[in-house]
Amino acid sequence: MTEEPYRWVEAIANRREYIETQLASGSPIAALSYRDGILFVTVGRARQKLFEIYDRIALGAIGHPGDIERLRMTAIELASTEGFTRSAADVSLRRLAFYSLSPVLKTAFEQVYGAPFLARMIFAEVGATPQDDLFLRVEYDGAITAHGPAADAQPPRFSAISGTTRATELMEQLLRRDHEPDCTLNRAMKVALDAWSAGSLPPTDEGDGKIPSKETLAQHRAKELESSTIEAVILERNAPSAIRYRTLGGEELKALVSA
């Protein structure tokens, strides 16, 4: 089959369609800078979707748990061995994603006789200021969308993933409108939850592609939260310890969400 270019292209297109269908029901994840760090937020039922990779790097992923697990383990292994043999300062998200993960994902995706990774991920690395924060959206085919210092002069200080391109674009629209990188954690949580709500609202015929009103978003969120819970983690910019990753939970999360 691979000797016939047309059939290869067709096979890849089919595979893309298959993966997109598999990912479509994924609960959105928003990651955004705030004054004192980076916040990751999603809403889910049981399965953990936000993870610690290294001191300053976190991961949010949707897709098949088995595939996410393999990628997560690989990322932790790479970061840990680098951090051990050189130093924590040498662990870089940019190198990890572009030089290690992306080629592996691309190869798996294009070898049509093997299984691709059913996963879509956001990685973020916290910097000294919001301007130094790096966000990478990594796709199942190895494509990477970077928002960060090297990306352009005024890159967005956020990233979002969801099951569909339409929903992700809606989330990005909302984040572009409402998010300020120097805001407080309280404010960041509000914007992140709005972004999640926008991304998880089923498409409607009228006004599709436009950001729904605050009331619509709040209503939708309230309904979803009857059967699901908020998962949130932060990468703290100025924590006293080298490990900046922290899960928000209990009273702290409750206070942030209701504020």
Binding site: R70, M73, S80, T81, F84, V104, I243
Partner: protein
Amino acid sequence: MTSESLGTVDFPALLRRHGLLNEAALLSPSGGSGAAAGFTPTQATTILAFKFTGGVLVAGDRRATSGNTVIYDRADKVLEIDRHSIMAIAGVPATAWEMARVLEHSLQYFRRTQLQEMSVDGKVRALSKLLRDNFGFVMQGVGVVVPIFATYDFIGEGQPRLYFYDAMGAQFEVAEYAATGSGSPAVRGVLFYENRWGKKPLHKLREEDAVTVALRALDTAAESDTATGGVDRNARIFPLIKIISRDGIQTLPEKQIALRFKRTVA
């Protein structure tokens, strides 16, 4: 892709697979080779730890020696391993610091991959295993390490836990205090005395009195043991003191130690 590694939670095993762990320390079949003849390794000396009302206090002097030469007077022998654990080292720093690095990364690697904290018993065993893997260096006389490990156990109501090790990796949990290194006989004498006949037993001391006891013990050790730095009054070099409590690890600021020293020890 590293799928063959699925299920690996042992960080040293991961390092070994990538050829990143020094195998020279493993015991060779020939055992002690006497390679140490004519070579005197650098040694870090006296460390101590005891439980008090605020958790567990871990202190170490700052001296590193080689034979009767002082190599360094600002050595850091009280090392943070994670948010609630400290490994304090006496012995050869080259080996001990590497061991601390492996331990630190092992615990983090476990937490990150398994999404849960390693149990206290697991942490204690992890260090024991590193010591056993180092036994080749011990037999050659070039890499002896005898650490103290202190941590906080959140099970039940929560309590600090304190262990010391021998060079082969046997761990001994202690209820009150531990000391290792060349100055430890003197330190143990002071701690035993304070605990038995002092104004209060060690576990009832408040933080500032605990600091006084630690400083006095190290100063006593330095009085007779040349390898222990104690307190350098001229250069104003003070022991390193860290405290583990439920809230985490606190490093006492040098100014605070200096003040305490001036008031109650000097």
